[in-house]
Symmetry: C2
Subunit: 121 residues, 2 copies
Amino acid sequence: MPTASGHTSVIRAKKVLGTAVKDDSGDEIGIVEDIVLDKLSNNIMYAAVSFGGFLGIGEKYHPLPWSLLKYDATDGNYVVSVTKEQLKAAPSYELKELTQGDGAAFRNAAFDYYKAPRYWQ
Amino acid sequence: MPTASGHTSVIRAKKVLGTAVKDDSGDEIGIVEDIVLDKLSNNIMYAAVSFGGFLGIGEKYHPLPWSLLKYDATDGNYVVSVTKEQLKAAPSYELKELTQGDGAAFRNAAFDYYKAPRYWQ
C-alpha cells in the first residue's frame, strides 16, 4: 500500500542504513546510522540517527521514533520535522548504549521527547 | 530483558545483517541478507535469508518470521530449526520481489508455511 509520498510501506533495512536525513527546509542534518530492533515484540524500537556534524556534538546518536522519519521519494532521503534547538536538547547516547538492557529507557525517553504515538501498550 | 540464551531483546540491524544461520546440528546453511521492515505498522515483517548455496537454488531468498531466528550467543550466529526438505519446499523469491507492494503476501505465505505465530491481527 503506497503512502501519500508514493513510498510503499515496506522497505529493506539495507536501503535505510546510511540514508541522509533532512529538515523541513531541505538542509541535510544527519544520517541514519542504524535501526534498533526489538527481538521479542517484533517491533522497530527506533532509528539511531547521527546529527553529530550538524550539532557539533561528536559521536552521539539520537534515538528517533521510526514514525518520525518521512521518506522523500523524490530525493531518496528522509525528512524529520525538528529544529536544531529541539535536537540539541533531545536525548542522545553513544551507539553502544542504545542496545544496552532492553532499550526501553531510550525508547521511552525519545517517544516522550518527540511526543510520538507509542506503538506499545 | 535477557532471553534464555542470554541475548537481550534488543539488537541493531547492522549486527544482524550478514550473520550466519545454522541448523539444529550446527551446520551453516545460510546467511541473513536483509531485514524487511513495515513502515506503517512499526513491525519487522521478516528476515530475508539466503539458503542458496546450501540448497543449490541460486539467488533466491527465503522470507523467515523474525521469531524463528534464535540467537546463539556462544557462536554469534542464528539457529533455525528447519530441515533441508522443509526449506526446499518453502516460499522463496528474488530479493527485489520481497519489497514489492505491501509485502503482506510474502509475509503471510512464510508465516503460514512455518506455522509461526502471527504478530498482526
